[in-house]
Symmetry: C2
Subunit: 166 residues, 2 copies
DNA sequence: ATATTAAGTCAGCCTTGTTGACATTCCAAG
DNA sequence: CTTGGAATGTCAACAAGGCTGACTTAATAT
């Protein structure tokens, strides 16, 4: 069997150099990915941790702290520090649960939603431009590789995030 | 002109939901991307910053500090802290320049090369698996989108990194 | 009743980034 | 041959955002 013409799906003869290139692309691209939000966040005195919280609260309003913890994969203490400033600054509201009063359900305020919109718009603009440059065929491949790169736990969080709404 | 059948290249009608999905994929995938190296680094008492330094020194042995600074995009002080521990621990050697004695040319020692190999092998294994799962067509698309996502400066660093060797 | 869960808090630590100031060494240009 | 600027390194101080461990409070579940 000829390696170069092996049966499509099964075997990919990626050289170490090709893989290394992909690894470095991932490194540099992630910097691009975070660059715009970082600039915006800096203006408000926030960091990436705030962005992540705001993003996933917006994604499923009413989400509990525990649920957010699972998605972000950080400690309670770490998240709490971020959440506290967001609540203090009036970007996030934490409502006591109706059914279960131990729970705090998180919501963005108008102010919080405005920041989220600004951040995600910036990120979408870059993403849209990248997809446009790369061409239509690239979109599916990009997503397929990224999703295959996740750990199982991350993957299930990724899936869970869109189960509710979409 | 029909939007759905617009001339291939030009217009992509990606919904905000699709873009958001890509953004979240990027977030979760990056965690997968760094998970294996992080575990290895922790065993040696190092962090991601050490990984990055070791990676790019290995990439072009003899690289100067300034060149490494440009690639990593951090401050001299920040890099120096990392570099110092690597030199102290005998993973990196800093040789004074022959032509220009102000410069320090960085090289991995055998020990440093061993760590680099362990880290990059782990990362390649995951990358290779992701490409295998995603299929051959996905590889080109993945890279195209990532490269389009970089800032111009990052992009030129990305290109410069492989100019020498490949 | 008691155990467990959800949330929050205090204290302390680490890594990795930042600024600012400054010293040294050396190349290059006037 | 002096002087300006580049490359490097270092000290100090600070901040964000991770972490562990210990502990409290309130409320649900068994």
């Amino acid at each position: 069997m000829d390696r170069a013409h092996s049966s499509g799906e099964s075997l990919l003869f990626l050289t170490d150099a090709q893989l290394r290139r992909a690894i470095e692309a991932m490194f540099f691209a992630y910097r691009g990915f975070t660059a715009d939000p970082d600039r915006i966040l800096a203006r408000y005195g926030y960091g990436r941790a705030h962005h992540r919280a705001v993003h996933f609260i917006n994604r499923a309003p009413g989400r509990t702290v525990t649920s957010l913890l699972a998605i972000l994969g950080v400690t309670k203490q770490s998240l709490n520090r971020v959440l506290r400033t967001l609540v203090e600054d009036g970007l996030v509201e934490a409502r006591v649960g109706v059914r279960d009063k131990r729970e705090r359900h998180l919501y963005l305020t108008e102010k919080g939603a405005a920041l989220e919109a600004e951040l995600s718009e910036a990120q979408r603009v870059r993403m849209r431009a990248a997809f446009r440059d790369a061409g239509p065929q690239a979109v599916a491949g990009f997503r397929a590789v990224l999703e295959a790169m996740m750990d199982p736990e991350q993957r299930s969080q990724f899936d869970a995030v869109r189960e509710v709404v979409e």
